[in-house]
Structures are given as structure tokens and as C-alpha cells.
């Protein structure tokens, strides 16, 4: 069993996920992250996930692909994925690929949490 590449905590009904690595670039690392988050989704009935990008300096198209897979899996289980704290340079990657239209992206964790709360109230 390899070491976790994530910090995971549960706040209210939301699973907050933080990346340990600053660079989410290589296939093996991305696969490990994707598998770990998929496991979290499988265990929940309607998974609410908030991924915190605060530590992330670089990501690749393979990482975007993993996020899309995670988003699809969360949607299939009537869950919701939100992303927050994305560095402006990385946010530009989302804009260029138009994935800012696919994902729910928030400036801060608080903003994302408020949207989760609004959706459940």
C-alpha cells in the first residue's frame, strides 16, 4: 500500500481533500490520487467533495483528466465536486481548456462550503 498523496477531512457533509504534492504531473502519481478519491466516492451515498488546490503549483492534462473522471463519478452518485483556492496561473489552464465551464470553481473554501450548504438547505 503506497503512502497517501492527499489530506482528507470531513466537515459537515463535505469531504475536503487537499493535495500534498505541489506538482500534479506524472501518470503514476495522478493514478494514485484518482484511485484514492474514487474510493472515497464509492463509499458515500451522495458524495460532496471539495478539492483544495492551495498547495498546487503545476498540473498536467492528465491531472485534468483525473479530475473529470472524479467529477463524472460524483455526478453519477448524485454527489457534487467543487474546486477551490486555484492559483491564477493554474486557473488559466482551466480557462484555456474551457473546463472552468465544466467544474464548479470557487475562490475560497468558505465560498465553496456556502454553496454546499445552500444546495442542502
Amino acid at each position: 500500500m503506497s503512502e497517501s498523496r492527499l489530506r482528507v477531512s470531513k466537515i459537515d457533509e463535505v469531504t475536503q481533500i487537499e493535495f500534498i504534492d505541489r506538482n500534479i504531473l506524472d501518470e503514476a502519481n495522478i493514478q494514485a490520487i484518482s484511485d484514492e478519491i474514487s474510493g472515497i466516492i464509492e463509499q458515500a451515498s451522495s458524495p460532496n467533495l471539495l478539492i483544495n488546490f492551495a498547495n498546487v503549483d503545476h498540473l498536467s492534462s492528465a491531472a485534468l483528466g483525473a479530475l473529470i473522471t472524479i467529477n463524472n463519478k460524483a455526478n453519477e452518485k448524485d454527489g457534487k465536486l467543487r474546486l477551490a483556492n486555484i492559483d491564477p496561473q493554474i486557473y488559466e489552464v482551466f480557462v484555456i481548456t474551457r473546463l472552468n465551464k465544466l467544474f464548479s470553481i470557487h475562490e475560497t473554501l468558505n465560498d465553496a462550503m456556502e454553496h454546499f450548504n445552500k444546495a442542502t438547505s
Binding site: S60, A66, Q89, V93, L102
Partner: protein, 142 residues
């Protein structure tokens, strides 16, 4: 064979295996030279992303039917405010124009097919050879 060889003149050439430490070391070496040549933070971000995507494509797609002992060739040349990089795999090549546009609504939720478009978005110039197994990229400070 029959693949035309147009090397970047006066470039450094490295044979690279699909080993993460070796890939990281090479990318850091190239980016170190780029910093010395006056490339700024946004340029370093762009070049790192483009090299990463091109190397990933070379191994994951180009070498998918080849052994792990087959190297990818990387050429690089850094001059004042400019960097040129070529990445050549030993696979059959592909037709870049055949790639679907990943930004179309119907392709947005597909988890693949964004590497080449990111390379083109971030670099000044991205050119493939006729066989499609060698990409030459250039970043010039605006």
C-alpha cells in the same frame, strides 16, 4: 525509417527513459537554463507544462507498443529570451490534425485529449514532423 531528421542546430541532445527522476532532472536542467536566459515566471510555467505534455505523449502514446528500454530523444537549446525543444519518440507517429477539439461541449467531459492543445496554447510555435513522431516547440519572450 524514411523520417526526415531536422535537428535543432547547436542543441543539447539527451536520450530519456520513462523514469520520473530522470524526467524531472532533465526538465529542471532545461528550466534552469531558461531562467538564466531571462525567461520569467509565466514563461517557465508555460515551458514546464509543454515539455511535460510532450514527454507524456511520447511515452504513453508513441511508445505504447515499445519496451521500457526504448528511449525518447530530447533536444534543447536556450538562447537569450528563447527556448527551443524537440521531443522525438520511436513510435509510428500520429496525425495531430486528427485530434478532436477538446473544448467542444460534447468533448468537455472526456478525460483525455488536452495535451497537444495546451502545448499549442502555451508555446509560441509547435510543429510536428510529417510522420508525427517528433514535435519541435519554441517559446520566445514577447
Amino acid at each position: 525509417m524514411g523520417n526526415q531528421k531536422t535537428r535543432i542546430p547547436h542543441s543539447q541532445t539527451v536520450e530519456l527513459l520513462n523514469d520520473r527522476h530522470a524526467i524531472n532532472e532533465l526538465i529542471e536542467r532545461i528550466l534552469g537554463l531558461a531562467l538564466h536566459a531571462g525567461l520569467k515566471d509565466a514563461a517557465i510555467f508555460a515551458v514546464r507544462l509543454a515539455i511535460e505534455e510532450a514527454i507524456t505523449n511520447a511515452f504513453v502514446h508513441g511508445h505504447q507498443d515499445l519496451g521500457s528500454d526504448v528511449p525518447v530523444l530530447v533536444e534543447y537549446k536556450v538562447t537569450l529570451g528563447e527556448i527551443q525543444i524537440a521531443i522525438e519518440d520511436q513510435g509510428p507517429g500520429f496525425i495531430p490534425e486528427s485530434l478532436p477539439d477538446p473544448t467542444l461541449i460534447e468533448n468537455l467531459s472526456k478525460p483525455f485529449g488536452r495535451g497537444v492543445m495546451l502545448m499549442k496554447a502555451y508555446m509560441t510555435e509547435v510543429l510536428y514532423n510529417a510522420q508525427g513522431n517528433r514535435v519541435t516547440m519554441r517559446y520566445s519572450t514577447p
